[in-house]
Point group: C2
Chain length 254, copies 2
């Protein structure tokens, strides 16, 4: 029983999100599970950490007696840091984040709290995976994701990746998944747009909205895989150095 892998779970939609519940259901078949998740929604928090205010950390009973669970007042990255420093005696064999309610393929990886929790775990030397479903609805159907999540987790536990690499896994919104594609991150952007309104006191305020623009025609991208109803798996890193540009810059006169 004690040989079962230790699995840390977090997300960015908060401790009560159905996507988190689904992920816990899958991974508790594989190992001992500890959940540390935000006490409310933290979408779009990217790799934010909480420096200027104190954090709360409370044990909660959300997933039944088999699953140790905590909620924090912090960001997804704070959750991982608190788990390591305050809750876990040994390093988890696996960290999984999600299932996010919404698409984290392509440039979304940069803004995603779900992926940032997984990136933080990978920085700390864990095997880590972020899972996301391309459906923003609270009542999204996570059933078709389950068997794939189990297979991907088991493969990673059996074939650990070298330090510096984690996985960004996105599921298409469909009941007929065609299989899995190993992909690169598509080169796409969000076209900024703000909805301008006036408050009851006559002052302007703005809500962020936006249009996703994919200018990448490659058939090896995550966006292409998802459009064709495949699960996209992107090996992801946190060395942001553009190594090929070093040579160019060495020719500058500085």
């Amino acid at each position: 029983m004690n040989n079962k892998p230790l699995i840390l779970v977090s997300n960015d939609d908060g401790i009560t999100a159905p996507g988190l519940k689904t992920l816990v259901e899958v991974v508790k078949k594989i190992g001992r599970v500890v959940v540390v998740a935000p006490d409310g929604p933290q979408s779009g928090m990217g790799h934010a950490i909480t420096l200027n205010k104190p954090l709360r950390l409370e044990k909660v009973n959300v997933f039944g007696p088999e699953v140790e669970a905590y909620q924090t007042s912090g960001t997804p990255v704070d959750c991982v840091k608190l788990a390591i420093d305050k809750l876990l005696i040994s390093k988890p064999d696996l960290m999984v984040s999600g299932i996010n309610h919404g698409n984290n393929s392509s440039i979304n990886v940069i803004y995603s709290g779900t992926m940032s929790a997984a990136v933080e775990a990978a920085i700390d030397g864990m095997q880590a995976i972020g899972f996301s479903l391309c459906d923003y609805a609270y009542e999204a159907n996570f059933e078709p994701c389950k068997s794939y999540i189990e297979k991907i987790c088991l493969n990673l536990l059996e074939n650990p990746l070298p330090y510096g690499t984690l996985l960004n896994v996105n599921f298409p919104k469909t009941n007929t998944i065609q299989g899995v594609k190993i992909c690169r991150q598509a080169s796409a952007t969000w076209e900024e747009s703000f909805d301008e309104r006036t408050d009851p006191y006559g002052r302007k305020y703005y809500w962020m909205v936006g249009n996703f623009i994919n200018r990448d025609n490659g058939q090896d991208t995550d966006v292409y895989a998802l459009e064709n109803n495949y699960v996209s798996v992107v090996p992801t890193q946190f060395d942001l150095t553009d190594h090929k540009a070093i040579y160019t810059l060495n020719n500058w006169k500085l």
Copy 2:
């Protein structure tokens, strides 16, 4: 006069930070300057965006009549998005972020609001640079940075980098800078640590602290350059794909 480059400036320490003031002083010699910065400190916000609440945007007179300046209630990334959608008619020729009060070399690039503002500008197709001084003090001495900032900005305007690349520039805390080194991001981490306290009502709370651990002995890293009193320049990208891992993953049974 109208041929002067348009330069967008932001930061994560907020509109009143001395580091921002220094950066504006330098770049207003080069071009027309528009500042859009947070109305308060946003350190450690990473690539966070504000999705769940509205944003405020107000014109302020902080840098004198020559410099158009705005403060927002949002994150550094929100500042760049608001600038593009609501304030600027044409795309800036250059976006600069900082000067951050504190070190953004190595893994700090991931947590940094300063760098995330620059990354956002680069995603939007601008030439972009994040500047940071390895001194966290409010009254840090930014004087030695000035001539380097001017040289680096002029070089970038003259030799634009291809889409997908920006610069992460860090200054050592010294009055005797030895020169500039083009570097890669050192592989280092923060060892998590939380200071546990009890509030007046008997409930626990936690402050994040931490120790920077550099396990990278390379002499081509930003950390090494800074330790030896050189300015570090790291070409930085936002394609997080670990391209070399794609082959490995294609051997998995999924």
